[in-house]
Symmetry: C2
Subunit: 311 residues, 2 copies
């Protein structure tokens, strides 16, 4: 691509948020649109919680806790302490500052605003100038079938069981009836480049693709779609992507990621440690590009962004 066109990014949480922090330095804000997963969303204590959307906002705004890697810096936990006193459900930690976001979102949604509108308002108030859209305003929930606990919600799996329990299948409740949020399909049709962020393919990217029209949009633009492998040297940097790929019959490797995405992604950026897998990836019909991808290492994020915009 020329670098002058618009860019759409398919996003999960932490990995996508870090990538977006870089892309925002390389793409004009009105040419950048992030389309984010809402399969992690939950209703808890009456509040509507959108973990991936919030992780993106807090991270790009550089307000995320460096220490924990999630949630806000300067956070306090008075509400959770009180909830614990009552023996309430306190397995999902909600900081006091973070609660302000959930209170605002919940109130606006109850007043009839769309999730996209509320997300836009939250993002702008944190100084985020590029577009951030939930993939859908409708209810979509990632449900995980586990060997030991039956079908549970994504957050029960990810936080409640710390993603340490074996999984047999994943489905996206509500996806069939969900409509892409206004602007999503247009952004995917118009983008010169579509980037799939280094998020979990199974439980972060797949729920985005499960919204009717989104997967087809990527397939019809396959040559312009570039993904970054979240698996490096056979391991996920964070979270259960490696184990989930294996549990769902794939390989925990950059090759397994290429196989997962083969119909939607034309180019896969794999880490230098996986250079030897380039041939195998090419053999499944995905163009491999080898580059440093560990975004926390000095200089890597900007190089990776330049690469994603130029390959």
């Amino acid at each position: 691509m020329t670098g002058s066109g618009s860019v759409a990014v398919i996003c999960g949480g932490v990995g996508a948020a870090r990538l977006l922090r870089g892309l925002a330095r390389h793409v004009e804000p009105d040419q950048l649109i992030a389309i984010a997963n809402v399969g992690d969303d939950m209703e808890l204590h009456g509040l509507h919680i959108s973990p991936d959307l919030d992780t993106i906002v807090y991270t790009v705004a550089e307000a995320v806790s460096a220490e924990r890697g999630w949630g806000l810096e300067g956070e306090s936990w008075q509400a959770m302490t009180m909830l614990g006193r009552y023996g309430g459900e306190d397995w999902f930690s909600l900081g006091d500052r973070d609660l302000g976001t959930h209170l605002y979102r919940t109130q606006r949604l109850r007043e009839g605003a769309s999730l996209a509108d509320v997300t836009g308002a939250i993002a702008r108030s944190w100084g985020i100038e590029f577009g951030l859209l939930p993939v859908t305003d409708d209810r979509l929930r990632t449900m995980v079938t586990t060997v030991d606990h039956g079908e549970i919600t994504f957050q029960e799996y990810f936080v409640g069981h710390q993603h340490s329990v074996p999984v047999t299948s994943v489905r996206f409740d509500g996806a069939d009836a969900a409509r892409p949020a206004p602007g999503v399909l247009t952004a995917l049709a118009d983008a010169e480049r579509i980037i799939v962020a280094p998020s979990n393919p199974v439980v972060s990217i797949d729920p985005v693709l499960a919204v009717p029209g989104v997967r087809d949009a990527l397939r019809s633009r396959r040559d312009d779609v570039v993904a970054v492998s979240p698996i490096i040297g056979g391991k996920a940097l964070k979270g259960p992507a490696d184990r989930l790929l294996v549990e769902l019959g794939r390989e925990a490797s950059a090759t397994g990621v290429a196989e997962w995405y083969t119909d939607e992604v034309g180019t896969l950026v794999i880490d230098t440690v996986d250079a030897a897998r380039a041939e195998a990836i090419a053999s499944v019909g995905v163009r491999p590009v080898v580059a440093p991808t560990i975004m926390s290492e000095p200089g890597v994020l900007d190089q990776l962004c330049e690469l994603l915009l130029s390959v």
Copy 2:
């Protein structure tokens, strides 16, 4: 009464809470039951907030902020600060600790628990041993018709407009269909003494009486019902009781209170500064008892409790 029998207390918020703190020292916990107003309850940001129930719990547990007179000591306001950042509805201050209570209540209610059950659990976790019941588990909302803003909820009137706007009428939305919470009518039938706390007659006590069966229960026990006037020297110690009485065609005085309660209350305790009104009160058919009633003054609370249990 003998002092050995059970006591039921009809309660609003702050005044009732202070009285209960004293009564808990004079009545065995299994003989004391507080029946509290829920007309102030509200749904805000998706949370179920029960201000009078919480004021009672926090006050009796001696956890209320002495400085503010409401809410919890050691409170912080991080969630509200964040809500303000978004331009969210922040007219009703919710402290971070206090939010823990609302999160717990909302979650339990959504799981199908009754307000009475949740209230009992909250009260016990604060070490409160006497019975605390919302007058009803059903939805009941005090609605205030104002000259300038039409009909608004109680909290919009009380907090949003700081009860400084003229009122033409008050009604209790949902009261007709509300059922007394389990135990309420039994407590009123069995109590040797029924006390009406020094709460606002118009907007704190009347919504309790508006629940079908409650007013009749007091009327049938009128000789055993003792109220404490919340109007002292023509003024409410706190809040708009004096103005509301006038706006609804009564006198802002202990006599006005006696007239308000004449069908339900046999005995009215009035402050020593109002001794001259005793005759007028007797002339409306209510027995006046003159005593110090300013509960914040040394020794007064215990004397008042002894009086309420013995007159």
